[in-house]
């Protein structure tokens, strides 16, 4: 396949090339492409990308899967979930809101420093920036230079004027001179990445960092076993998408029930569901360091169980998937990813609320299942967790999701 990147020798990039690219997208942003036209162009591009038959998507995902060691099936499902909210209605609705807040002084150029672990991460903010009238320059990660380059090509094919508002370049993070040029030349720069990356840029006033976060789920099991089974399947899928490497990925499931054994039963259901997913969405080739971390999680659980702690380890062949039942965990368990999840019991809503009092600021999303009264959802919203959703929807936040607290959304759209 050919990507936009194939034409760029990143070693030959310099500050002047960054400045030129920013000037081009800034110039394109001055052209008369209103929010509604951009939303329409994006809607067409997203419609193409939602189709598994679209050749550019198919080739892009094959390339990403090959280089990252992911299965195509996992990536297909992940991109399906990611792009699901980008409907014409949602995009046009956003355009209407932008137009209605026309007086807002918005950045004219926005740089994006994309993450390498989750293909397409940042697409919400990029689409919002484009609809809000900004020119966009995306610096892709060396580990994943394909998705945005190919999406930008689609946009240009759909609407040349809209496509002129976005450019995609790639350079290594070690080229701090180029990153510095991006920050100087753009009105705003959005950074996705590990905390070290964001920390190193934090003192720049025009930088917005989407710091590292994780996600969780809370389940109130009901009397209907088939419904519990369905929830376990959906949450297992939430674990498996993007190989559990994004901020919306599920790390720990809390089973709220006074009944002994409820958490264990759910852990068993999750493990069976993950086992089945290993067939339909084969797991990734796990990088060495991550494999070592998964092994450490497993060995701790295994030996705690041998010692008589009420911990149980469910594990797939090799490192395909791991479920650790830790019925009374005293702290949030962050997973190494690659389908490794903890299941913990909670007696009631009060225990759940108290548990999250100290860590909710690091939680991006919470899936809720079986909360018939809506009390748990209310509790979670009160904690300030940005995205509260149903099981199976964790990787499909709505277009106006207040990612990272909503700072970028407010800046670009002026929704608040």
């Amino acid at each position: 396949m050919t990507t936009a990147l194939a034409h760029v020798d990143s070693s030959r990039l310099g500050g002047a090339e960054i400045a030129s690219a920013v000037a081009r997208v800034r110039g394109a942003a001055k052209l008369e492409i209103d929010a509604n036209r951009m939303a329409g162009a994006l809607a067409q591009a997203f419609a193409l990308w939602r189709s598994r038959d679209y050749a550019r998507r198919r080739d892009a995902l094959a390339a990403i899967a090959h280089s990252a060691g992911y299965s195509v099936a996992m990536l297909e499902n992940s991109i399906d979930a990611l792009l699901k909210p980008f409907t014409e209605d949602a995009l046009k609705s956003m355009a209407a809101r932008v137009s209605a807040n026309g007086a807002v002084d918005r950045p004219k150029t926005v740089g994006f420093i994309a993450a390498g672990n989750v293909a397409g991460a940042g697409i919400h903010e990029i689409a919002i920036a484009l609809i809000a009238g900004a020119g966009v320059l995306i610096k892709t990660a060396s580990a994943e230079p394909v998705f945005f380059a190919e999406f930008a090509r689609t946009l240009a094919e759909v609407d040349r004027g809209a496509g002129a508002r976005i450019e995609v370049l790639q350079w290594n993070r070690a080229r701090t001179d180029l990153t510095a040029a991006l920050i100087v030349d753009c009105d705003r720069v959005v950074v996705y990445g590990d905390d070290a990356t964001i920390e190193s840029l934090r003192n720049r006033p025009n930088v917005i960092g989407f710091g590292s976060r994780v996600s969780a789920a809370v389940v109130v099991p009901g009397a209907d076993a088939s419904q519990n089974e369905r929830v376990a399947q959906l949450l297992a899928r939430d674990v498996a998408l993007f190989e559990q490497l994004g901020c919306l990925s599920l790390h720990q499931v809390f089973v709220v029930s006074p009944a002994d054994g409820a958490a264990r039963e759910f852990a068993m259901r999750m493990s069976k569901a993950l086992g089945r997913l290993s067939e339909s969405m084969p797991p990734a080739r796990v990088p060495l360091r991550d494999a070592a971390e998964i092994r450490a999680v497993r060995e701790r659980a295994r030996w705690r169980a041998i010692a008589g702690d009420p911990v149980e380890l469910f594990e797939g062949r090799e490192l395909q998937w791991t479920v650790v039942l830790d019925p009374r965990a005293d702290s949030f368990r962050v997973s190494p990813g690659f389908r490794t999840v903890h299941v913990t019991g909670m007696r009631d809503r009060i225990e759940f609320r108290d548990f999250f009092a100290g860590v909710s600021g690091q939680i991006e999303a919470m899936a809720v299942a079986g909360d018939e009264s809506g009390e748990l959802r209310a509790t979670i919203r009160a904690m300030g967790i940005p995205y509260v959703c149903a099981a199976g929807e964790m990787q499909s936040p709505p277009f106006d999701w207040r990612h990272g607290g909503g700072r970028f959304l407010d800046l670009m759209v002026g929704l608040r």
Partner: protein, 369 residues
């Protein structure tokens, strides 16, 4: 001969061709006598009678020592038995690893024999500066015990310039200055963190010492306990600049509470062809009674020479507990020598998701053993 006598005999007169046979005997002895290990092996579906090679012996994770006593029942109370603890962790003392050594004489034999090969190959006795508490002050520390044995075996005189709480860098500096004045070679033993503290003090005071030729140091623990870790190459450089110790005489030790044997840097001082340069990229050498493999963390199978995996040891000197121990450290083995990369090597940058250690400090943040 009992299994213990056979191991001691091997340590004193290693016969590489009999390692495999003895290792399998040790494994079967441990399978029979150590109930949690037997349960683990059974969980792995391993029949000890069917294990034909040391590489097939089930290795316990070193974290196992945090949760169970991997020793024969009653071993901790046996006459002369010693119990060592891993250092404190953020999980609290209840999660400290505990290694019961029922036969400390085997541990001593192992430690001293390999120290003699790697740190005292010239068979010299000399003043020893201990920059870690000795066993009288910290009996639960395996490092303290090892340092005390080293002093008993190799010291002409000694100073212990560390307590549980602090390193007495002024006393250490004075001791070294005295050795310099007497033109006596001296041996420094301690943690890398203690050495960093000494360097900092000497640097701030503008003091440089030129210790006599033949002076040497053994540091251990690496980044543990250091806010900004000093890299191995820098340790070697500082030892030269501030103390006048030749690069080949700066020898890093790799050991852990859970193992009764240790590995040391191969340098021109202790190994033909070993590094004499300032590089921190050194291989380490295990004693002949220890087999080291790097295991694939996915399959747990031993990897070919040069491939990176989880370092896994079969230590005959652990005969009283469990000999097959898999660590959380990454490294590789090449022609019998070991490169230790540690737990932080090779980490991929990750996007918007947290890594475990970013969310909350965890067991990885241990202090020296």
């Amino acid at each position: 001969m009992s299994i213990y006598e056979q191991v001691v005999s091997f340590i004193h007169r290693p016969e590489p061709e009999s390692f495999e046979r003895l290792a399998l005997e040790v494994f079967r002895h441990q399978f029979e006598g150590i109930e949690p290990y037997r349960r683990y092996c059974e969980g792995c579906g391993v029949d000890p009678g069917a294990v034909r090679g040391v590489d097939n012996v089930p290795a316990v994770s070193n974290v196992a020592f945090k949760y169970v006593d991997l020793a024969a029942k009653g071993a901790a109370g046996a006459p002369g038995a010693m119990t060592f603890f891993t250092s404190g962790t953020t999980q609290g003392r209840e999660r400290r690893g505990r290694h019961i050594v029922a036969r400390p004489e085997i541990y001593r034999a192992s430690a001293i024999a390999h120290l003699r090969t790697m740190l005292f190959p010239d068979a010299r006795r000399m003043p020893i500066l201990a920059m870690h508490p000795t066993a009288d002050a910290m009996p639960e520390s395996s490092l303290s015990t090892m340092i005390s044995w080293c002093i008993e075996e190799f010291a002409t005189r000694t100073l212990t310039a560390a307590s549980r709480d602090r390193v007495d860098v002024a006393a250490a500096s004075a001791f070294l200055a005295d050795c310099e004045a007497r033109r006596e070679p001296v041996c420094i033993l301690g943690t890398t963190a203690a050495f960093v503290a000494l360097c900092s003090e000497l640097h701030d005071a503008g003091v440089t010492l030129r210790l006599a030729a033949g002076s040497r140091m053994m540091d251990t623990g690496g980044a543990k306990g250091q806010v900004v870790p000093m890299q191995p190459a820098e340790v070697i450089a500082r030892a030269g600049e501030l103390l006048g110790i030749a690069p080949a005489m700066v020898i890093n030790e790799y050991g852990m509470t859970e193992l009764c044997s240790q590995l040391y840097d191969a340098t021109a001082f202790n190994c033909p062809g070993g590094s004499g340069a300032n590089s921190g990229d050194r291989y380490k050498i295990a004693p002949p009674w220890m087999r080291v493999t790097a295991r694939d963390p996915v399959t747990l199978r031993p990897l070919p020479d040069g491939e990176t995996g989880l370092l896994t040891f079969f230590d005959l000197a652990n005969v009283g507990s469990v000999s097959a121990v898999m660590t959380e450290d990454l490294g590789w083995v090449e022609r019998g020598m070991v490169r230790v990369l540690g737990r932080t090597a090779g980490g991929e940058a990750r996007g918007c998701a947290l890594r475990i250690r970013q969310f909350s400090a965890n067991e990885a943040a241990e202090l020296p053993r």
